[in-house]
């Protein structure tokens, strides 16, 4: 297993100030300014939210999609530690780092979107708990998972600061942390889908199904691998490092197998509920549905053969379409296929979009700072 020769993680080094970090910094500053306005004038002052669409992109993109993008750590850790595929070990740390940021920011995005954020402690106050609420379960699981991930990632900091004793102690109980780090995302990623069950007939039958927790769980795992494909390609080109094709090629095959399983479940459910007929005809919902499905079929054309899976460009593209497909599932169920019946409309305002952009900028900036200064990515040998 993981006693094979892995390159130890090492800081990439290099300057922290460059065009990318500067741009990210500016976008973060713009977001901060918008959030100040939101704080003093209410959600309506900077968002297009209304009572027909009480959840906009801050929830659906930053939280639902953002946290699914952050499933790389969970998906790879599951492969390495649960399915004992030690050879994927070098992918764990970078994936975990992206997850850490993705989730921490999803948590921040929720607070920003809360209309009465100063009451948020009620979420953790036993006398306010409502175990019937899907959101209660999601919130508790995500909070615990963020803590668990910081612990999982702690060895990186221990190494940087030479805290060997702490690192050794933590490694003794790491298996529990890893088990929790696998269980918690399974719980809340599936429940993020269950959130729309209580919305009932307001969600279009192409998406409203009691099987939605399984759809969300499968797509979250699949998106986790897709993000790793995407991020490995970006990191290797941005840092001019060699790409870990020996790992990405077989992992892409695992992903493809899960995509096939997902397609079977997705269509099986539609046929079983007798809802597939609604996918034919011309409307925004049907177009978006087929676009969503196309994203899950495309990888078979892109990386269906072993030869194709050896092409970094194809893996990169396959990663992107899968990320898009999983995003569309979430966007379609919560916004496109959601209709309260009134004359309400929603299209995100510019300020709303800029906050979402700012949130993702924090992720990029944090990733760059940490990989350049802390041991995350595998050490590059002389061949770079």
């Amino acid at each position: 297993m993981s006693t094979q020769h892995h390159a130890k993680p090492a800081p990439v080094g290099g300057p922290l100030l460059n065009a990318v970090t500067l741009t990210a910094g500016i976008l973060i500053a713009i977001m901060a300014a918008i959030l100040v306005v939101r704080l003093f004038y209410g959600l309506g002052s900077v968002t297009a939210l209304n009572d027909g669409y009480p959840w906009g992109i801050w929830i659906v993109v930053d939280v639902m999609i953002g946290s699914a993008f952050a499933c790389g750590g969970f998906s790879v850790a599951m492969l390495v530690y649960i399915f004992n595929k030690g050879e994927y070990h070098p992918l764990v740390r970078p994936a975990l780092l992206a997850s850490l940021f993705g989730y921490t920011l999803a948590g921040v995005a929720v607070i920003v979107d809360l209309g009465r954020w100063w009451n948020v402690w009620n979420m953790y106050w036993p006398w306010s708990a409502n175990p019937n609420s899907v959101m209660f379960e999601v919130a508790i699981c995500i909070t615990l998972y963020i803590i668990v991930m910081w612990i999982e990632f702690a060895p990186t900091f221990f190494e940087k600061f030479g805290m060997d004793a702490a690192k050794r102690k933590l490694s003794k109980i790491m298996f529990i942390i890893i088990a929790l780090g696998t269980l918690l995302p399974m719980m809340h990623q599936s429940s993020l889908g269950t959130l729309w069950v209580v919305l009932g007939a307001q969600v279009h039958p192409l998406w409203q199904t009691p099987l939605v927790p399984l759809l969300f769980l499968l797509t979250a795992i699949i998106m986790g691998y897709a993000v790793v494909l995407f991020e490995s390609c970006v990191a290797s080109s941005a840092y001019r490092r060699s790409i870990e094709m020996n790992l990405l090629t077989p992992m892409a095959k695992v992903m493809l197998g899960l995509v096939a399983a997902y397609i079977v479940v997705r269509f099986g459910d539609l046929i079983w509920r007798g809802a597939l007929g609604l996918a034919f005809g011309f409307s925004l919902e049907t177009v978006m549905f087929w676009l969503e499905m196309a994203c899950f079929f495309a990888p078979f054309l892109l990386i269906g053969t072993e030869v194709q899976r050896r092409s970094p460009a194809r893996l990169f593209l396959a990663g992107i379409v899968i990320m898009l497909g999983g995003s569309l599932l979430r966007l379609n169920g919560f916004l496109i296929g959601y209709n309260t019946g009134g004359a309400y409309q929603y299209f995100p305002s510019l300020t709303e979009v800029l906050v979402t952009v700012g949130m993702f900028s924090i992720e990029v900036l944090g990733y760059i700072i940490i990989t350049r200064r802390f041991p995350v990515l595998p050490r590059e040998e002389a061949h770079a």
Binding site: G115, R116, N119, S133, F175, P213
Partner: protein, 336 residues
């Protein structure tokens, strides 16, 4: 190769377990709750409503809500729908020449929009912090702003679009009808029913209101009958002594009703009931199944997480597998 097959097998097994757990709902499904025996509510009879909107004004006053302007001169309170500051409005249905009241074609009708106080409310099931609760005795769906975190899941969940949020207030709250429960201690009931000049909105126990609705549907159109106004029956509720009112009932002509009591079956029943001469879907009341989505949602949640049995079992299995696969110091211990 064998390990890969092993992996796929395990992945497949996991999928089947997940699917099985979800499908298991059907057997363990939680029933939709019923209206409590002492449940209070309203009966709105669109055929009696004259569209005077006295109830809209009274609701604003009773709840201390500011007017909303939708006309250029900004003289009158003109809300177009319920909102964070408007808990009750009267909407209008019009068709063709609008000659006949309560007729579907070439007619018009009114419809009251306010909280229906579901037997099994989605908003209560959705609320993560128990800010939205259903009173166990009166069945009133009550809101506590001191607990509310403003997540607006209740707004999204309600099939009637009733809880609304105050988006333009940095301290915004959720706004919805609570049947004027803050006025009950003074012997006052829902302001909308109190001021209604024709008894189109009646306050009372849902059981009594349902009996009254059935009585009306059994009458022949054109017949003369007695219509009560204000409060129906004793409407007994704990710690409440309703103000004594003179008999306000009057005789009127029976309209041509749709043989449908809206709220009797919808979503498992609501405490506010409605009668109409025009089909309910035409006057903006959604067609809903006789069970609540809250029951479906909670069935899934409790099947998966009830007593934390499944999560603990899965955690145990994962920890056991991880313990085998993760050697302490495995990460750097081999000092490769």
């Amino acid at each position: 190769m064998s390990t890969r097959r092993d992996f796929l097998k395990r992945a497949l097994a996991g999928t089947i377990v997940g699917a099985g757990a979800t499908a298991g709902n059907v057997a363990l499904a939680r029933e939709t709750y019923k209206v409590p025996p002492g449940g209070l509510g309203l009966l709105y009879d669109a055929t009696l409503c004259v569209g005077c909107k006295a109830c809209v004004a009274a609701c604003k006053e009773a709840n201390g809500n500011p007017p909303e302007f939708n006309t250029v001169d900004q003289l009158w309170d003109t809300p177009l729908d319920t909102s964070g500051n408007t808990f009750n409005i009267i909407k209008m249905y019009r068709n063709g020449t609008m000659e006949k009241k309560d007729a579907e074609t070439n007619g018009y009708s009114f419809m009251k929009t306010s909280c229906l106080h579901c037997a099994d409310p989605s908003c209560v099931s959705a609320c993560p912090v128990s800010a939205m609760t259903k009173n166990p005795v009166t069945g009133i769906v009550e809101y506590n702003p001191d607990k509310c975190i403003g997540c607006r899941y209740c707004v999204a969940a309600c099939p009637f679009g009733i809880p609304k949020y105050q988006y333009n207030d940095p301290l915004g709250r959720i706004g919805k009808c609570e049947l004027c429960n803050h006025r009950h201690k003074d012997g006052h009931y829902s302001a909308c029913a109190e001021v209604c000049p024709t008894g189109a909105t009646l306050f009372g126990k849902t059981a009594d209101l349902l009996a009254e609705a059935r009585r009306r549907l059994a009458l022949k159109p054109g017949e003369i009958t007695t219509y009560p106004r204000g409060r129906l029956g004793d409407a007994a509720a704990p710690n409440v002594n309703w103000r004594v009112e003179p008999d306000q009932s009057y005789e009127g002509v029976v309209a041509n009703y749709q043989q449908h009591i809206y709220g009797e079956k919808e979503y498992g029943g609501t405490q506010v009931l409605k009668l109409s001469g025009v089909p309910f879907e035409k006057v903006g009341m959604p067609k809903l199944p006789p069970y609540s989505s809250a029951a479906t949602s909670e069935t899934i949640q409790h099947t998966l997480y009830g007593g934390l049995i499944m999560p603990v079992a899965v955690l145990g299995a994962l920890a056991w597998v991880a313990k085998r696969n993760v050697k302490p110091e495995a990460e750097e211990g081999d000092k490769s």
